[in-house]
Symmetry: C2
Subunit: 345 residues, 2 copies
């Protein structure tokens, strides 16, 4: 079968690899019908060393179950399923609490070096705990929106939920990537009346306005902070959703958060140490929260709004390609020519 | 009048200074009857440079109102009052929300270079917003406990409230100083069943047990982390209350917090940058919260339990002195011979 491999920074190839097969009784084998490239895939695309490659890529996909291990009971051959970006057993203490990303037995796809979603097929461990069945036809026009449940929509929603967004909070969203835009949609869904989107790519911020942003701030750094403060009576917003992961975005966040407010991060931090002392978080009683979204916990909640057409998160996909076009897709996303690339293997 | 001045690290003196007098119509002049030395006073006691001194000291006190400015309406001459460690106007947007430490007009006592609580008298700005009247006699045996409402009890309580402590959360408390011990008492008051106190000073941890600690861990660093994990099924506690402010305490905190849990800091951070990336906070969806406690917001809530004898937070005072004994009091607290020093000027 064919699959995507990253050999190092900037070097993505689609090659023949051994077919994925069922290995454990809790596995399912899924033929991928829709997959995508994630903003987080761009981090290794910038920095991965050749020594650590090649790595199989992709952690967001929808597909048809081709077969299941003997212990799998919730999905079966022929089912259309969506896979969250984290593998979860569904039964451990953290899964039962909904914190699937801290599953004691599952993990991230990085830990499955022979599998990846940007491929023709995937072996999915802990199929019962990981996969969610979709009751729509394989050719449904809703597929792009349903695919966002695998990562970007659930991640944006996690940011908003963890940040405590509600009808009484003002919200800033840092980043006009797919997660940032879906954080806007999520904040809107949770009732926020003022949603300030910080981004400078107009096609994206226009989609952000469509998703619910009331203001757009293109400026960055001190200038951007001043602008957000002007829009909020001088104090910043109650909640800041940080959907980038780089240090300047974090610095922006504590510059625009209101005293007593919350910064909720879902952009994977590309730093370890950062300011959290009196001058940044402590003095203003700022709460810092967020992490890898347990998107599995949000799928059932968010799916109805997609199925009934209330929301269309799939609008974040502005490019569609087959597997051959994946390397070009990485490049287009890296150059910000594409917002998010949908792959139909 | 006599007052405490810090000239530099390790150099505390009690000297004659100009009498405090009313300057603004919103001021009250308070004759101090009880004051104390704070764990946070030890930070400058370790590090203050001579260039920045001498500084007036003390931010926790009870006293008798000697006079008020023309606009003060909630307290009057002869009233016994307690002063929170932050000055607050009581009317701005943050005061109205209860976040008194972010008051737009008040601030910390550091910003009042000619005033301090470790003195015979204090000019209190924004008396209506800052002071709370106590309906007890000046010689009440409850005075030590009531004095803890000015800082340490409210601070420990803020840690527990911000950390989300309730009957379903397990709690660790880092630090066996007065704030840590009162964080234990606060966690108990909020219903936590397992409260692990990390401290190595037995007289203090014994008081911690009296306040509600179910376990005491004397070990620090990796050893301490292992011990807490052993006590919690391997996963750490839902909430960690960090009542120290030094980096090793913060590192301890993210070592013992359960995935999805919360670190609540009230020890004033003696660092600015610290780990908050994937390996410390982000990966486990850990929330970091806390800050200077808006103790003014908690006084009415906590006072009844003191007045009716349900709790006795004043037990953290193990030494009483007059003003002359203040320099020795600093030394005793620094050498951990005293837990907390009560001053009767």
């Amino acid at each position: 079968m064919r699959a995507t491999l990253m050999y190092g920074a900037g070097d993505v190839r689609v090659e023949n690899v051994p077919d994925s097969v069922i290995k454990q009784p809790t596995d399912a084998l899924v033929r991928v019908t829709s997959s995508c490239i994630c903003g987080s895939d761009l981090h290794p695309y910038h920095s991965m060393s050749r020594d650590s490659g090649p790595a199989r890529m992709g952690h967001e996909f929808i597909g048809i179950v081709e077969g299941t291990g003997s212990e799998v009971s919730t999905v079966r051959k022929g089912d259309l399923v969506v896979a969250p970006f984290a593998i979860s057993c569904g039964t451990c203490v953290f899964c039962r609490e909904g914190l699937y990303t801290s599953c004691l037995h599952g993990g991230f796809w990085d830990n499955e070096p022979l599998e990846g979603g940007q491929a023709e097929a995937v072996r999915v461990p802990f199929a019962d705990g990981t996969l969610v069945k979709l009751n729509v036809a394989e050719d449904s026009a809703l597929m792009p929106s349903l695919l966002t449940l695998s990562d970007v929509f659930g991640t944006g929603y996690h940011a908003a939920v963890q940040g405590g967004v509600n009808e009484r909070t003002s919200v800033s969203v840092i980043g006009d990537g797919a997660v940032g835009l879906l954080a806007v949609l999520s904040a809107k869904r949770l009732g926020a009346e003022q949603i300030i989107l910080m981004g400078r790519h107009q096609a994206r911020t226009d989609l952000g306005r469509e998703f619910g942003a009331t203001d757009v701030v293109a400026e960055r750094g001190e200038e951007g902070i001043t602008k957000v403060r002007e829009l909020t009576g001088g104090h910043g917003t109650h909640v800041v959703l940080e959907a980038v992961g780089h240090m300047p975005a974090y610095e922006q966040a504590f510059g625009i958060v209101r005293p007593g407010g919350t910064i909720s991060r879902v952009g994977v931090p590309q730093y370890e140490d950062a300011p959290i002392g009196f001058g940044s978080l402590f003095g203003g009683n700022i709460t810092l929260t967020g992490g890898p979204a347990p998107v599995r916990a949000y799928i059932e909640e968010l799916m109805p709004d997609i199925l009934n057409g209330t929301i269309e998160p799939g609008k974040v996909f502005d490019t569609t390609t087959d597997l051959d076009g994946v390397p070009e897709g990485y490049q287009a996303m890296d150059e910000r020519k594409s917002l998010k690339v949908l792959i139909r293997p």
